[in-house]
Symmetry: D2
Subunit: 426 residues, 4 copies
């Protein structure tokens, strides 16, 4: 490119684009679609500022990756494979390309996986694929490889996807900025200064351990205060229930007065790539709006609740009373005229899709390694008590979700035993 281009960004001040390939990717139809998918799904119903899109996050992940590589190059670190620069940048930019609207709810309702869709878009008949192919015919495959973590150079994969990757660093800073909480504000510059490539890994200079502790503590706080927030979870549950009801109605041959192809194909489990690219949060929201006029009272009620933010209330309870709570709650539901299938949910925060730092567990991302001045590598929990303590913490309480009106509809005394088992809701 003749000249650097910039995007104004509230988190990184500016995002610098120096390669024509990156510029062209940003201008593809598939990448622009990310403007219509919120980064935090239903969190905007808990934190009204959380209305930022996956588009801005994707630019941020790209920018952090660019900064890391630029620091590696400036310091002439040996372990850095310079020829992988553009591949890293493209994978960083595109790693979330396959995210659909309200991913958590849809993925759990229909079993789709956004990583698979990312690869399909990169490899399919798309503008993104055409831009990548101009670099070299096998370039789209390489990018897909990095996104799916099958690429042979671990160091490339770990920049985009590890316990200390550009993806997480951007989302912690960005989500903190837009929600307005200040837990996510670790010192990015300091992290950048203490990481380096070493024998195929990204490692952390031991003297930078406290910077990483700070980052992991930010993460811990963000999970509890933002990502696992029960109000957000309540909205996700409602969306899940709406899809479950729609699927049931479809199977019952109900005739929807509002229906568009991509949603129909989603329910039928036969989404094409073209369908998928039409699915954004606007379409979902519009569907909810017009399903408020359908003829099924349950579907109408659920959609109405979501739109008007009349979310389910939640209460905690002890694991030991699990069975009793469920049984009595189902009785209460039926007595009050609610179908428990659609009006009740039991939940553990640790079932959610965000992960905390638990090295050693299967399916875990690449761990964080410290490099000491004798060139030994040690996994961080062996050196940091604070990280060890965070890693070990068992996540969350049992929550039960149910309509706020439930209790009023029942006689005061009949379910006293149930309410006694439930803790306070804040």
């Amino acid at each position: 490119m003749k000249e650097e281009k910039v995007f104004k960004d509230p988190v990184h001040k500016y995002i610098y684009v120096q390669d024509k390939t990156i510029w062209d990717l940003i201008n593809t139809r598939e990448f622009q679609r990310l403007r219509r998918v919120r980064q935090l799904g239903t969190s905007y119903l808990t934190f009204h500022g959380a209305e930022h899109s996956r588009f801005s996050h994707s630019l941020g992940v790209y920018e952090i990756t660019r900064k890391i590589i630029s620091q590696f190059e400036r310091n002439h670190y040996e372990g850095w494979p310079q020829e992988e620069r553009l591949l890293c940048l493209c994978a960083a930019l595109l790693h979330d390309l396959g995210h659909g609207p309200f991913s958590h709810s849809i993925e759990s309702a229909f079993g789709t996986r956004h990583e698979d869709w990312s690869c399909k878009i990169v490899l399919g008949d798309t503008e993104v694929n055409r831009v990548l192919s101009q670099v070299s015919p096998d370039f789209p495959k390489k990018v897909a490889g990095v996104i799916c973590k099958s690429y042979h150079e671990e160091i490339v994969v770990s920049l985009v996807s590890s316990q200390l990757d550009a993806d997480r660093m951007d989302y912690l800073l960005r989500d903190a900025y837009f929600t307005g909480v200040n837990y996510g504000t670790f010192d990015l510059e300091r992290i950048l200064r203490v990481i380096r490539p070493y024998k195929g890994h990204i490692v952390v200079k031991e003297s930078g351990m406290h910077a990483v502790e700070d980052y992991l503590m930010s993460r811990y706080q963000m999970y509890w205060q933002v990502y696992f927030h029960p109000v957000t979870r309540s909205a996700e549950i409602l969306l899940h229930k709406i899809f479950a009801r729609a699927k049931h109605l479809y199977e019952d041959n109900y005739n929807f007065s509002f229906m568009v192809d991509p949603i129909l194909h989603l329910i039928q489990n036969k989404l094409s790539l073209e369908d998928y690219l039409l699915l954004d949060e606007s379409v979902m929201q519009t569907m909810l709006t017009f399903w408020c006029s359908e003829n099924d009272s349950i579907l109408v009620d659920l959609c109405r609740r979501f739109l008007d933010r009349k979310l389910y209330k939640y209460s905690t309870f002890e694991e030991s009373s699990n069975k009793r709570v469920i049984q009595r709650m189902e009785q209460a539901m039926r007595e009050a005229g609610f179908d428990p299938i659609y009006y009740m949910e039991i939940d553990f925060p640790s079932d959610l899709s965000y992960d905390v730092y638990r090295p050693g567990e299967s399916d875990e991302k690449l761990p964080i390694l410290l490099l000491d001045h004798r060139e030994h590598l040690t996994e961080i929990t062996h050196k940091s008590e604070i990280v060890r303590s965070i890693s070990g913490i068992h996540m969350g309480a049992h929550h039960i979700y149910y309509p706020e009106e439930l209790r009023e509809r029942l006689s005061t005394t009949a379910y006293a035993d149930l309410w006694a088992l439930l803790g306070e809701q804040d």
Copy 2:
């Protein structure tokens, strides 16, 4: 209320709700709808962070009003009519209730006015109306009066709508925060300390003049850098063209494969209140998505451009060459196969709906008055050279908007005279 409630807000840290009426208003269907209307319309296509909603802005206006009143009460200022507190707070919260999706484009295409819709919602058969009526039967009318600036107490109106009102103070801070520019960051606390009620006006202590200068300079910068940004304007123009095309097709009895009632009624100019409340940015966006599959090539092309952010390019030109530029551009358009009605627009930024500070002009909001230690009131331009200079500045250049491909489609030499008349685009 038993206990203060709070909302986490990135701009004001927390928003404090102390009255049940305010709490209930926030939970109405009509107020929740503001979550689905962006504060800055198409600006997110220029500044990707600008995805915040009118919901968050409305809470912010409420919060600033609450702080102002709390300061008036704490200082026991004589001129403050204490009985108007709740009225002020409700009007502050609800003043933007009637905003529809992409207001600027829709209002210019169909002649609707959001202030009118705000009053219709407050006075109509709505949840908002029911909450307000619980205060007193004539309370909805009073709130509508403040919003429409017809209420008899000027001081109440001017808190919500004047040159130094809670509305502007919030939007400058909020829009600066979400776009990431730092022009809008004046010292809110200082402004709050220097304003006070005085004989029916909100006035500024003369020693606080510099604080107001700073606020007006922020505003000046925000108008130029954000609100009047030609890329944002280009997207607005495109939306306007899409509506113009749809209206034309409707009048030609074109049969839309995707159509919903609220949009049909908008085109037919017979929107009901119920329709209007269904119109949000999701519905608009969904319409654009599915109109990409219509049978009219112009409509398809315009929608495609908007969704993929292939906006019209813009160039400046001198007022003196106005006629010549238009004439030659129309010729060029036709030669290249573009219908100038849909593919070309001339624009002056000062036509836009944001106003700068120009006391004395008709339709101007209440001016800013300084109160000196001898209790004289003076309009600020008489004391501040810097404000005088900002007020007098003539706004903007002539811009012409047209498709980027236009130039490539024409022979290099044929329109050399036209391109010579046009200045650089940044």
Copy 3:
């Protein structure tokens, strides 16, 4: 006071003074003296921004206390003794009044205690005493009682001095701001919202536990990254050595060419209140400047090192090699011509005067209590794994400090065993 007064403050934006007593206290000679004592002693040699004074911190502690009380009053909490308001505010403002220059070094060298001096100033023949006496004759005694933690109302003491007091909340935020690190930035507003008076204690609503965790994690990071920083410690050691040398010279009847009474009396251990009030960091710094021209080469060298920031280098070593390291280092010192009394120091960070959260240890401040919805109180480590983990962490490594030139002055091989025992310095 006719009208609220404000101070512009970078941490709290504004500090509001509403009582004439507070205003008068700020304007006393003894309080103004705090402008000449840095909040963080020698830390400015590590973090060049850390040049802020105890004056600004004292205003900050006052402001946080004012906000807490205002919240208690606004919510009409039962457990709050309203008549203690002014006492709390005065004690908050004055609690650090007795701090002298470079407190840590001077207190360790001469055995003075700033708390004692605070009380002496409050009770002595001072402007502060005269202002306080105007409230009531026994008011100075009450204020001294709160500062020395002997006042009978625990709740008053704990606002100013406990594990979650206004003092710490201000210094974490302020020290983070001025050093530029961003570890100290917890959510003050949120903490304020979750604390309340309860049966004579300040307690935390259980649902606010995460806010307290965040505050304690900030504190943990600040201790490691700022307060325990070995470079700061190295400068403190140097000051301590300078005083030790001066005392030795004095006892040897050395005739100082630069000497002023307060320093002489400090060395003689017979400081009067009047002397103490003349002792500020300017006097200390001036003493160092002119002692560079004394006739004792050790004193000159030590002062020169401090002024030119040629601080001692530090290395870590294992506890097990403690004895060996000391023995060999002393040999090395002598061989290189350094007197180990002045040129060597062994140090454990946990000896320093900042404390972490360790409930149960003697001399511990009032612990943090959580109040659940059944009105039970629980000490926070019983509920929070993260706090438990922070509390248990054993503090720091062994450090040895010595002149950087030492190693060059010795033959390369002679002390290879010593250098092998010492870890890396960053």
Copy 4:
């Protein structure tokens, strides 16, 4: 250097040192001395946060210069003389080296100039000179040339000293940060992106004009709100009076009980370089402290006022009543027992040493030039109405300073005419 070094800085996050020469310069005695001279002189008596030193500002100027050069090199701009890089960095770092304590007061009292002292230090027998000489024998002279603006390459001079130089950019941001006002916060990154070398000048791309406007407006606000603040000025006047009194006493052969050589030589107007380097704010402050015990009641009173912040009050008056105000005030002074020589001062803010942007005036720094897309250069006031308006504004009101007690000491009616001529003090 083997590895980049960093300083933590609150304004720029980190300051990066990449050259051994820079590292060595920072570690010289003369540069470390800047830690003991406040950046804003007496401003800390107005804004208690303004306790930052010239040391931190000098690092900041260096860092901005480093960023500008790095951007020039990254973009391979033709007009940039690459061989001047180290010279620019050294001059940027050292340009304030000659600043003494409370420069404004001392320079006006004794006619010294900090620029001259900077050059003397660079060229004299100093550690700084020795470090610079290692680059090349004539390097110290070159550095001094840039600092004194006599160096032949205008572009090098203008990076360090022009209307848009690294010096001002750092001090606006830094002074805003430490005082806590938010006027100084322009968009540094954006300015860096729009400046470039062009035919021996640093120029601004025309499309960046608004960024420069924003910077100049920040400057305008900072001058009025911070640099010209009358309370700061009042403290400067007091210091000036103290020196005037001391000089008078010296000429009268008064025998000072506290005196050190550098101050004596300052009064005698025969300061050596060695003396000058001992003069820092600690020495000055210590002098004030001990002069409170001298035998001259005027000197004691003036020093006491400064230390206890009992500054002179100020009032505005109209230019037309100039003569009358002075005459009557002198009468009032004498009647109340104040010597007007030491207890009264007339002042115009525009006499102060900060300059605003006034191109064309003699002694003006290099102006700001805009470069348009046709490669024409235009001075910014010809294009920007807002800059034109700021440049033309006549600075400030007449102020008279006098002891607060003056009025109380006089009969209520005797000077009613004088008080009527004076405006309000805030």
